[in-house]
């Protein structure tokens, strides 16, 4: 055996390491599971040039020109008219809530103007809170629509290249007209930062007691499961409050993110979101045996939520199954809420849905955690 390096010593170290790896099933599962999940999510769900985005059509007179244009827009693959006969007010509500990414408005005199060659105009409002969502759809828009219209009116022959007959497409990039990415990312980051710290901190709550041997003592004293849970998670609501203040002030002062909504509404949403997160962390804590496992489970949860929530990639651009999967993450609902309130100035009715979803998470996580909590050492 050499003094500095011996294969036999190395082999002993490797053998011990492999035995420990094999005993720790969760780590082993993570080593196989994480690459697989990452691959599937990145490979299939992520789309940075999102297509099939939901759109609403406001067209009081649905004549053949309108239909031709709508089908041409759909053929581009970027638009999917989920609300083909919306009123102006309905469309406004839909885009505020984030249910549609576009509102296409065809004025009632559109058909007549086409036939007369009198400056036909359509209006496309795009939800530009996420600039990447709108860009592809907008860039293909003008040409496609114009060509479709020319075909339909049979005006191709005369190559009606006069100013008067050409379709005018007016695009309104709503909420973020300059397409500044930070406007979308910074509010989202509040959710991501809160999620990372809150879940990770509370996921250690019980495993730390178990690892230090204090759990046996805690259980032998008359504390009830709900008291233990609240005792563990409430302090982190305070930590969360500090983080929220820091991120919101930074968003305003450093990134100049507009804040058009009501602060109390946002704070209520953040509060429910943080409550859901700390209880989720606690739930992870009841399911893990060591702090290491708790960390791994947190990470296991963290990664897909980042990818599927709409934080990194446009939510509406993902395939339907991925969108459904995205619904199980509190972050998804929180992003809808904070973007709606901060950037779109949504009122309570506009964010009632994500708010309710977050409240459901709080209830569900708390119930599961209390059911999972072991009052005994069995």
């Amino acid at each position: 055996m050499s003094r500095f390096f011996s294969l036999r010593r190395l082999a002993a170290l490797l053998a011990k390491e492999l035995i420990q790896m094999r005993r720790d099933r969760i780590t082993f599962a993570m080593m196989l599971g994480i690459p697989l999940i990452q691959l599937i999510l990145f490979g299939f769900a992520i789309n940075s040039d999102p297509k099939g985005l939901p759109a609403a059509l406001v067209a009081p007179t649905q004549d053949r020109y309108t239909r031709a244009m709508v089908s041409a827009l759909e053929l581009t693959g970027y638009y999917r008219f989920t609300h083909p006969a919306a009123s102006a007010a309905e469309a406004e509500a839909l885009i505020t809530k984030g249910d549609v990414a576009f509102v296409v408005t065809v004025p009632s005199d559109f058909g007549r103007r086409v036939e007369r060659g009198d400056h036909p105009t359509i209006l496309i409002e795009a939800d530009a809170t996420d600039p990447s969502v709108a860009s592809g759809a907008i860039s293909t828009l003008g040409i496609v629509a114009a060509e479709a219209l020319l075909r339909e009116s049979g005006a191709e022959a005369q190559a009606a290249e006069t100013e008067a007959t050409r379709l005018q497409v007016t695009v309104h990039k709503r909420y973020n007209p300059e397409g500044i990415t930070q406007y979308n990312i910074v509010p989202g980051l509040l959710g991501v930062i809160l999620q990372m710290t809150m879940v990770m901190m509370t996921s250690m709550a019980l495993t730390r007691e178990v690892e230090r041997g204090t759990m046996e003592n805690l259980l032998s004293m008359p504390a009830t499961p709900i008291e233990i849970m609240l005792g563990k998670v409430l302090p982190y609501l305070g930590v969360g409050a500090v983080q929220v203040a820091v991120v919101l002030v930074a968003a305003k002062l450093i990134f100049d993110v507009p804040f058009v909504g009501a602060l109390p509404l946002l704070l209520l949403g953040v509060f429910i979101f943080v409550a859901a997160l700390v209880i989720l962390g606690y739930l992870i804590s009841t399911a893990s045996r060591t702090q290491m496992q708790a960390m791994q489970l947190t990470f296991f949860f963290f990664l897909p939520s980042l990818l599927l929530s709409g934080f990194m990639f446009p939510y509406r651009g993902m395939p339907y199954w991925a969108q459904t999967l995205g619904e199980i993450f509190p972050l998804t609902h929180f992003l809808r809420l904070i973007r709606a309130v901060m950037l779109k100035g949504s009122d309570y009715a506009g964010v009632a849905q994500p708010m309710a979803a977050l409240a459901v998470f709080v209830g569900a996580f708390a119930t599961l955690a209390l059911l999972r909590f072991r009052r005994t050492l069995d």
Binding site: R212, G213, T214, M215, E216, N217, L219, S220, M221, P222, A223, R375, T376, L377, D378
Partner: protein, 308 residues
């Protein structure tokens, strides 16, 4: 003494992965007595104690602790029992006083400050109350743990190997404290594998590989074991020990300093064998008292290891 016993459990069984760690243990502890709970490492003492204070659910068996059903009334038991865990299980990053404040709060003691300061004074911890629990030596940690267990004035104290790793002086003081508490009417169940500690208990219960194999006062246990002990003295004890190996009637041979303890169940055969060896090796034989340790070694040899 005719009142209901503090602990009365029958047929307690706890299995882990099909292996009975505790198998059919029945135990009675009278009010106000110090009951010793003895047995070798891994014999199921800790598991039995946890079963009795509601920290584990038994797979079979039933019983009452302080009149409460151990299966159903775990919460009531927790309020009236003080349980001192084998491993120090208070918060090392809290001071003595902070730990006691925490415990006082959990038991809802009022006024908490008064309870804590009284307990600190009772156990001589007042001067150290601002010291972090993690920085305490074994003896002081044990004292803190005892303080935390008795602060809520439990009726029953369960101590799981409380003196492991504690020096003789601290052990002596600890036992004086236990006797003082018992004199005030507290019932104490204490597990140990120190023989001198077993002898300080009113009654002892010996558990081996999950089964209760002996119980009674120390004198009763020694008498019931039916062992005969003789001592050999002389120069060539090593040769004597070698010759006694496997001889008729000889169960245990143990050197104690300049003497050799020889123990056996069959007194006549034992004496015969030892007399023969004494003559052969030029050593002298004296009759001796059987000690509790001799009994326990004998019991351990007789019980089947439940790992196999």
């Amino acid at each position: 003494m005719n009142a209901e016993p503090a602990i009365e459990v029958r047929g307690l069984t706890k299995r882990y992965g099909g292996r009975a760690v505790v198998g059919d243990v029945s135990l009675t502890v009278r009010k106000g007595e110090i009951a010793g709970f003895l047995g070798p490492n891994g014999s199921g003492k800790t598991t039995t104690i946890r079963l009795m204070c509601g920290l584990l659910t038994p797979d079979a068996g039933e019983g009452r602790v302080l009149g409460h059903d151990i299966r159903r009334a775990g919460r009531a038991i927790k309020r009236e029992v003080g349980y001192m865990t084998q491993r120090f299980s208070f918060y090392e990053d809290l001071t003595i006083e902070e730990n006691l404040n925490f415990v006082a709060g959990l038991y809802g003691l009022r006024p908490a400050r008064r309870h804590v300061s009284d307990t600190l004074a009772d156990l001589g911890l007042t001067a150290r109350r601002h010291q972090l629990a993690g920085s305490l030596s074994g003896g002081w940690k044990q004292r803190l743990a005892l303080a935390a267990c008795i602060m809520h004035a439990p009726k029953l104290l369960m101590l799981d190997e409380p003196t492991a790793g504690v020096d003789p002086k601290a052990r002596r003081e600890f036992w004086d404290e236990i006797h003082r508490l018992a004199a005030e009417g507290l019932t104490v169940l204490v597990s140990t594998h120190y023989m001198d500690e077993a002898e300080r208990c009113h009654r002892i219960n010996y558990i081996s590989y999950g089964k209760l194999v002996a119980k009674g006062t120390v004198a009763e246990v020694v008498r019931n074991a039916g062992l005969t002990t003789v001592i050999l003295e002389g120069d060539d004890l090593t040769a004597a020990a070698r010759r006694l190996e496997g001889a008729a009637g000889v169960d245990q041979i143990a050197p104690f300093g300049a003497t050799l303890h020889v123990v056996g169940r069959d007194g006549a055969a034992l004496r015969q064998s030892v007399e023969r060896v004494a003559a052969e090796t030029g050593t002298t034989m004296h009759p001796a008292e059987t000690s509790l340790e001799d009994v326990f070694i004998q019991l351990m040899g007789g019980a089947k290891d439940n790992m196999g």
